[in-house]
Structures are given as structure tokens and as C-alpha cells.
């Protein structure tokens, strides 16, 4: 049985459930909002093997009946049911303990998981993640993080004033082009908090979804600095089309995902005119439906096959 844990109305979860239905694979979708009706009891035997039960809406399931797990958790504090609790309501500690037990079981039971909570944290620091990206043979744009205005000026000169800036952490930020003249008054602000600047790289964007050992790539054509905000940055939406990766590049993407301990990832590439492949970052919890809905690429279907350990997944990996 595949266990899906998150907010079932979110489109990545909805699409996954659709595809599990199509495959006729058993699953249980746990809504994080129903934490009051959910409990996990954990046990361990003398050899360290985890066991226990999951109770959800009065039904109890042995944890060893779960073979695949998809996590798409949101912060408890954002759940309406959690927010309305008084500060000393025991349900608050119950909700926290529930996530702790879920995380513990997910990380240590050996279940096929998308994705481990600890692994998802790599996206909390772009330069940290970039060091893994480099180890897997991808180029990353020249990057400067500094609180020194003179460093920014020198970096801009070095890159002919073709520089962008964005958050260092996983906080979602709109990638912006640094305007050497127009942004000069902002320069002093870097003294208060270091800012990440990057060489602007020409080329086209490719989003690669890695599912286990399989890749599905999407080419994005946009004139915006950040294609996710193409409409507001340029007045034109981005165009998305399926893209064929060569075997070597696909293999590097799988290696990168594995190096970050991610069974499912969204890798952001930019292919430069000379063919150099730059990698910007790896999303550990991709909202893949954006790409799927524009291209009809079977991302949810492959994910469902992977999570359920379906024969189709292995046939595709082994190209049978």
C-alpha cells in the first residue's frame, strides 16, 4: 500500500491519487489537517527493525503493510485546525509528536519514500546545494555572496554587468537582474545582510524531473529572468515543451538526485548556446503539475509507478 501524507486538495497529491487509481494500486491518503484523528504507534524489535501501526479516522493499519510513502507536508502552524487550538491544547503536542513519529518511521524504516525530510533540507541553502551540484559534474554560475558593496561592483564589472540576485536560502524569491545604475542606491543595503549575486547565463531553461532512475525533461522558453514569473516580468507567458535529454545528461541528473538522497526531484538546468549545462538548483518537493499540465508529460504516472514498485517502473528503467 502507498501512503500519501499532506493536503489531498493540492494538485500534486490529487494527480498522484488519480494515477494510483489508474494503476489499481492500493493507497491511503492522510490529510494533515485531520491530525486529531491520526496516530502513529511505533515499536522496535531487538534487531532494530521498526514496526507499529497507523490509525486514521478510526481505521488501523500495520506500518509494515506500507511499501511506499509520499510526503508533502506543510507547517502545522498554517493549518486552520491547528491555528484555532488554544496554546495549551494537548492536540498541539499530539500534532507535533505525530509528525516526529512519521518522520522517524519514514527515515529509518527502509520504506520507499518521496522524499526523506532530512534530504529535503538541502534546498534550504542554495550555495550548499550548489556544492553537491558541482560534484556531479554540472556547472553552476559564478556566485558571490557578500555584505561588501565594493565586492558587488567588482563582480558586476567582471561579468559585464550581467548579474542577477536572489535569496541564499530556500525562501522563495523572484530572481531579479541587477541594474548597475538603477540599483546603485540599494548597494549599501547589503551591509545589513549578505546577498547572493550570480553571473547571468544565456541559454534556455530545462526542468528535469527525476523519479528514481528515470528522467522527464521539459524545455521552457521565456524571455523573463525568472520563467515562473514570465507574465509579470515580460507580459508573455513561458512556453513549455517536452525535451529529450541525452543519456549522459540524464545519468548525471539521476546521480545528482541520488547524491542529495532524493528519490523525486525537480532539477533546474540552463543549456548555454555552446552546450554547457548549468544547474541552478534542485527542488526536493517539486510542484510538478505545472509542467505536466502544459506538456501532458506523465510525471504523476511515473511517480505512482515508482512509489507502488509497479512492474512498469522497472520495465522502463531496464528498457524492456
Amino acid at each position: 500500500m502507498v501512503l500519501i501524507w499532506g493536503i489531498p486538495s493540492e494538485s500534486p497529491i490529487q494527480r498522484l491519487l488519480d494515477e494510483l487509481d489508474t494503476l489499481e494500486q492500493p493507497y491511503l491518503a492522510v490529510s494533515q489537517r485531520h491530525f486529531a484523528d491520526t496516530d502513529i504507534q511505533l515499536t522496535v524489535d531487538s534487531s532494530g527493525t521498526l514496526g507499529g501501526t497507523l490509525t486514521y479516522q478510526q481505521q488501523t493499519y500495520p506500518l509494515d503493510s506500507i511499501t511506499g510513502l509520499y510526503l508533502r507536508l506543510t507547517d502545522d502552524e498554517t493549518l486552520p485546525e491547528f491555528k484555532q487550538l488554544s496554546p495549551d491544547d494537548p492536540l498541539r503536542s499530539h500534532a507535533r509528536q505525530l509528525v516526529q513519529h512519521l518522520t522517524l518511521w519514514a527515515d529509518w524504516s527502509g520504506v520507499r519514500i518521496v522524499n526523506r525530510m532530512a534530504a529535503m533540507a538541502s534546498n534550504n541553502s542554495k550555495p550548499y546545494q550548489a556544492q553537491f551540484i558541482r560534484q556531479c559534474g554540472f556547472r553552476t554560475p559564478d556566485t558571490l555572496i557578500t555584505n561588501e558593496p565594493a565586492d558587488v561592483i567588482a563582480f558586476c564589472r567582471q561579468h559585464d554587468d550581467r548579474v542577477i540576485y536572489k535569496s541564499i536560502s530556500g525562501v522563495r524569491s523572484i530572481v531579479q537582474t541587477w541594474q548597475a545604475n538603477g540599483d546603485a542606491d540599494k548597494l549599501a543595503l547589503v551591509r545589513h545582510c549578505p546577498v547572493q549575486f550570480q553571473q547571468q547565463v544565456d541559454g534556455f531553461d530545462v526542468r528535469v524531473h527525476v523519479i528514481g532512475e528515470l528522467c522527464l525533461a521539459t524545455r521552457i522558453t521565456a524571455h523573463a529572468t525568472d520563467y515562473r514569473y514570465a507574465l509579470q516580468q515580460t507580459g508573455e507567458s513561458a512556453t513549455l515543451t517536452p525535451y529529450e535529454l541525452d543519456d549522459e545528461l540524464a545519468s548525471r541528473c539521476v546521480d545528482l538526485s541520488r547524491a542529495l538522497d532524493l528519490a523525486f526531484s525537480g532539477i533546474d538546468l540552463r543549456i548555454a548556446p555552446d552546450g554547457t549545462v548549468y544547474c541552478f538548483e534542485v527542488n526536493p518537493c517539486p510542484a510538478y503539475t505545472y509542467y505536466e499540465s502544459h506538456t501532458n508529460q506523465p510525471i504523476a504516472a511515473r511517480l505512482a509507478e515508482y512509489l507502488s514498485g509497479h512492474d512498469n517502473y522497472y520495465r522502463r528503467v531496464w528498457q524492456l
Binding site: G48, L104, Y128, I145, S167, S169
Partner: protein, 245 residues
Amino acid sequence: MILILCHLHDADAVWLYQRLKRASPPDSVAIVSVDELLYARTIRHTLTIDSVDFYIQLQNGLTLTNDTLSLVINRLYYVDPVAWKQPNQVQYQYVSQELNALYLSILHSLDKTRLYNPPSASWLAGRNLSPAEWQLLGLRSGLAIPPDWPPVDTQPPPDTRVLVIDGRLLGELPDGVSPDACRQVAQQVGMPLLELHFTGSRFINATPLPMLHQYGDALIDHLLTATTHGTDLGHTERIAHPAAA
């Protein structure tokens, strides 16, 4: 230079600094608090096609770069930009995440063979496991754990502490506890410095932020020796700590 990174209230880091300083020539040991990092005069972290580097100059003039560090004792676990707390909560949270992301990357860029301990993506001090996870890892490594697993998060103080450092054990191991099992726990989490806690002979918890003073001269000797063994990676200025050379 041996660098100790710590929080202001970290008495064990201060103890370590004083003991190492006593055994070392001037300017070969430094202690830097998270607040000094927060207010650094210059912070520069670069990733280019050839290298990952950093340059930090503190307000007191001390300069930190990868090439000048022979050993780093990392006792940072969270960078809290307290100065941002008052003006705006949203900005405080943003700056907090940005600075933690920055120092995670800088710490990760340090040579792992000279770093006690490497950070993890979720915690600057290393792997951030709950007592239940430590006990599970201990059990799988061959240590006995209390029968009432999973434990509550708040653990009683241990009656025995044992330090694993580079596979060596410091402190007195409780009867019947396998030293190899202790080493395996540290090895599994990729932390060369790990303190294991026991109640009786049962393993209850572990921390990468040990009570360093408990290990006295043995720890100081080990750290000074660590700067001389197998550490010539092409940076001649980092071959040896002067006290041990």
C-alpha cells in the same frame, strides 16, 4: 590556526580555547562567537568554476579563510540575527534563514578531515537526531537501549558520558558496552566528534556538542596531534599546529 566557533554562553568552548591557547604559541588558536560572525566587517563567499572559497574579516581584524585554518571545532547550531528581531518579524525570519543558509554553505566548504563536526542541511552542528533516533541507531549498532522505546524527548541527565573522537574513545565506558558499537554510531552519522550518553549500560542519547571539559588533557592532546597527522593537503601553512610540530 585552530578555530573554535561557538555561541556566547558556551562555557565548554571557552574552556577548550583556554586550554589550547595555554599549549600553543600566540595567535594560533581563536575563538569566534556567532555574534562576531553576525557583525563581521566583511563576509565573502564565492563559488566559481575552480573553487569554493570564503573570506570573513571580523570587527577585531581577525581574518578567516579556508587556507588559514588547520582545525575547526564547530559548536554553532543556529545563527540568530537578534538585531533584526525588533524592527520587523518577517524580515527577521528572512535574514535568519539567509544567514543560516550562508553559514551552512561556508561550513560545508571546509575540509571535512579538519572539521569537528561537519554541518548537515538541517542543523549547523551536524545531524540533528531525536533521542528516539539516537537510540534506534545505537540499537542497530549493537548498544543496549532502555525498554520503553520511543522515549520522551526530554531525557534525564546521563550518569556516564563517553566521547568518540576520530574513532578513539575518551571517558570511562560503562561495563558491558562495546567500544566498536560506540564508534559505529559516530561513523554512521558522519560525525568525528560525538558524545554518547548512558544510564547504567543503556545508551540513551548522543550529542555533537559535548561537555568538553570532562575529557581534560586527553582531548587537548588528541586535538593538537590531529593537526599534525595526515593533514598535508598541499597547504604548507596548514601542515602542523606549532605546538605539536
